[in-house]
């Protein structure tokens, strides 16, 4: 578990609740795990400075925890709080997508079309 400290003031696009509880599921200290953690920390520092908690769960050590949050892919980021639960899989390399996934950005007017286009491409 690691708690990051705020470094500077961030201007969130939407009002955010006080406490953010984030869990990052990984399977051992793989390059993917480390990348994901670095990306997450960076985003949190930028947008949630002082209001977040990141819990890193290594499934190799605690395999029983995979079932509870329905983890298949690693790394997976789970936003436990604020509700509802949100999940982002992957190394969190695209900050924009992470912000959308965490509800830190207002959605596109037509999110479906945009996303679809992205995937097909």
């Amino acid at each position: 578990m690691k708690t990051a400290t705020p470094s500077h003031e961030a201007k969130p696009a939407v009002p955010v609740p006080r406490a953010w509880e984030l869990r990052l599921y990984v399977a051992g200290p793989t390059p993917k795990s480390l990348t994901a953690f670095r990306n997450l920390e960076k985003i949190c520092e930028e947008h949630l400075a002082g209001r977040y908690q990141i819990e890193v769960i290594d499934l190799l050590k605690n395999p029983q925890l995979a079932q509870g949050d329905q983890i298949l892919a690693v790394p997976t980021l789970v936003r436990k709080l604020p509700a509802p639960i949100r999940k982002i899989i992957g190394t969190l390399s695209n900050t924009e997508r992470v912000l959308i996934g965490l509800d830190l950005r207002p959605h596109d007017p037509e999110p479906f079309t945009a996303r679809k286009g992205e995937r097909n491409g």
């Binding site: 190799l60 892919a73 949100r86 190394t91 969190l92 695209n94 959308i100």
Partner: protein
């Protein structure tokens, strides 16, 4: 199940599912993945679940069920109807249900990832109950749930390699695709065994079928086999694989109709033979069949009677009117009557259900009344093939089978619709004999293998005490039946009576003659005895006279003082007379 025990042959993991082990030659490839594919609602999940349940309960192999579509609770409820108590198995650590939920709309994806989480979950589940069997139902959920198919494919390949290393027997299910076995091409990951399930509707009748598409390294049944989902699980009846290798019995069993036994060289049918009873409507097929059934039960054997037309109670009532009490045998468990409408199922399902019932009831005699009921369920070729399999199977079991067949009016009598005449050993034909403005029933034996049978057409009379075969009367215009026969019988009776009278008359005359003769003899004898008396009397008078004569002579001699002649009395009369004269 150690690999070293049998290094050369493929190890197999028995499924315990009736029939499946037969067509796969012992089960699924142990320690390898098997793909179970088929359309929606064809029984994939059920078959996979039964594989685990049987493994846990019958083969001591715990199993993990990874469900991608249903929750554990839903699964438990769904299979409870098959008598599987998943909760108990889960509680005793013989089964583990894990519901993997993947919904594309619930997560974002960014950057690289792998499915190590699934591996870990699966590995944890396998290790926690020491599972030997794993079901993935259906892993295609991953394709739908995860956006990056490239990753899914790469990870699946890794997953199956990993599962093989773990040595678990895996069954994964897959939805049938358009022209492919599975929608997402799962077959490319599984090269060992592919089983396809099918649920086809032909003429509004559905039949479930199973086929082993491929099974590397082993021989297997290649046909499509019908299967049933019943109250106690799945049953496959691989009757297409039946071989003709039954041993023929020499034992004979009576038909229940005494004179029919006589026609069949005195002893009835061979045990384990197949008997066809064909005839037009109303010729008494069911009556003959029921009589045979009754005779079977009376001997203490069991009989299973399949009917397509009449309900069990109707058969019992109808047969009650000809003196057959079938109810008593049903109550004693020797007779089972089953009525199924032909169009309730497809041909294969009919057959499979019959075989299932036969296996459960274990009868010595099976009656199907009539096989023409199956006409609506397939083409003549299909029906013939199916019946051939059924008959072969029954023969293999040593079960005597009687089939009735309704011949349509106007078609050739000695022809069966199902064209199975060459399959049966004994063929009885019941026919209408129309003479003198009335219809009567006749019975003859068209063929009966391995016995010298009667070649006569017998009249067949259904009475309120059963079936009777009567003598054959051949009149100037052919066979006499019905009232013609009755009048012929009466005529013969009258002739017999008059013959008797004549004989009596002659007897009487003879008696008279004898009496007269004896009278004559008596008269003659009386006459003779009278004569005899007279003669005897004359003789004694002569003697007296002689004596008195001798006395007179002696008196005379004494008076004349003559010499005494000795023994004068012993001399003949003539001498005496001569002496007297001299």
């Amino acid at each position: 199940m150690k690999r070293s025990a049998a290094p050369r042959t493929l190890r197999k993991s028995p499924t315990g599912i009736r029939g499946l082990d037969e067509i796969t030659g012992g089960g699924l490839p142990a320690g390898r993945p098997t793909l179970l594919c088929g359309g929606a609602g064809c029984g994939k999940t059920l078959l996979a679940m039964e594989f685990l349940v049987r493994g846990a309960t019958e083969f001591g192999e715990p199993g993990v069920f990874i469900a991608f579509e249903e929750t554990g609770k839903e699964l438990t409820e769904n299979v409870a109807s098959l008598g599987f108590d998943l909760n108990a198995l889960v509680a005793s650590k013989k089964l583990l249900l894990d519901y993997v939920y993947v919904d594309r709309s619930e997560f974002e994806e960014t950057g690289e990832y792998d499915l190590e989480g699934l591996f870990i979950r699966l590995g944890y589940a396998i290790d926690s109950i020491k599972a030997k069997r794993v079901v993935l139902d259906t892993i295609e959920g991953l394709f739908a749930g995860l956006p990056n198919q490239g990753i899914v494919r790469a990870e699946l390949r890794r997953l199956f390699r990993w599962l093989k290393e773990k040595g678990v027997t895996v069954v994964m299910t897959g939805e049938r695709g358009d022209g492919t076995l599975t929608r997402y091409g799962l077959e490319e990951y599984v090269s060992d065994c592919v089983i396809s399930l099918d649920h086809r509707v032909v003429d509004q009748v559905t039949t479930r079928r199973i086929r082993v598409v491929k099974y590397r390294g082993t021989t297997h049944g290649t046909n499509e086999y019908p299967f049933l989902i019943e109250k106690d699980g799945i049953s496959i009846w691989p009757i297409t694989s039946v071989q003709v290798e039954h041993t023929a019995s020499h034992e004979r069993i009576p038909t229940g109709i005494e004179r029919l036994d006589t026609m069949l060289s005195g002893k009835g049918f061979y045990r384990g033979s197949s008997i066809l009873l064909s005839g037009t409507a109303g010729t008494g097929k069911t009556s003959v069949a029921a009589t045979f059934a009754e005779a079977t039960c009376r001997r203490g054997e069991r009989c299973l009677y399949f009917s397509f037309e009449e309900s069990p109670s109707q058969i019992m009532r109808n047969m009650g009117t000809i003196g057959l009490n079938l109810q008593q045998w049903v109550s004693k468990g020797r007779l089972e009557l089953q009525t199924v409408r032909p169009f309730s199922f497809g041909l294969e399902t009919h057959l499979a259900r019959k075989i299932q019932s036969i296996t459960e009831f274990a009868p010595q005699v099976v009656i199907i009344d009539p096989i023409s009921g199956l006409d609506t369920t397939g083409t003549p070729l299909e029906i013939k093939a199916a019946l051939m399999r059924l008959l072969d199977w029954l023969k293999l079991k040593g079960i005597t089978t009687m089939l009735t067949d309704l011949t349509m009016g106007g078609s050739a009598l000695e022809r069966t619709d199902a064209a199975i005449s060459s399959l049966v050993d004994t063929w009885l034909v019941l026919r209408d004999l129309e003479t003198n403005g009335e219809r009567n029933r006749g019975l003859h034996i068209l063929k009966s293998r391995a016995m010298g049978h009667s070649n006569q057409v017998r009249e067949f009379v259904v009475t309120d005490t059963g079936i009777r075969l009567t003598d054959v009367y051949i009149g100037p215009s052919g066979m006499l039946t019905g009232s013609a026969r009755v009048s012929q019988e009466a005529r013969e009776r009258a002739e017999r009576v008059s013959l008797n009278e004549e004989a009596e008359r002659q007897q009487l005359a003879l008696e008279c003659k004898r009496a007269a003769l004896e009278g004559q003899i008596a008269a003659l004898r009386a006459e003779f005895s009278a004569e005899e008396t007279i003669i005897a009397r004359t003789f004694s008078q002569d003697k007296l006279r002689e004596a008195s004569l001798a006395l007179d002579q002696a008196e005379m001699g004494r008076s004349r003082k003559r010499d005494i002649v000795k023994s004068i009395a012993s001399r003949s009369r003539r001498n005496v007379t001569g002496g007297a004269l001299s």
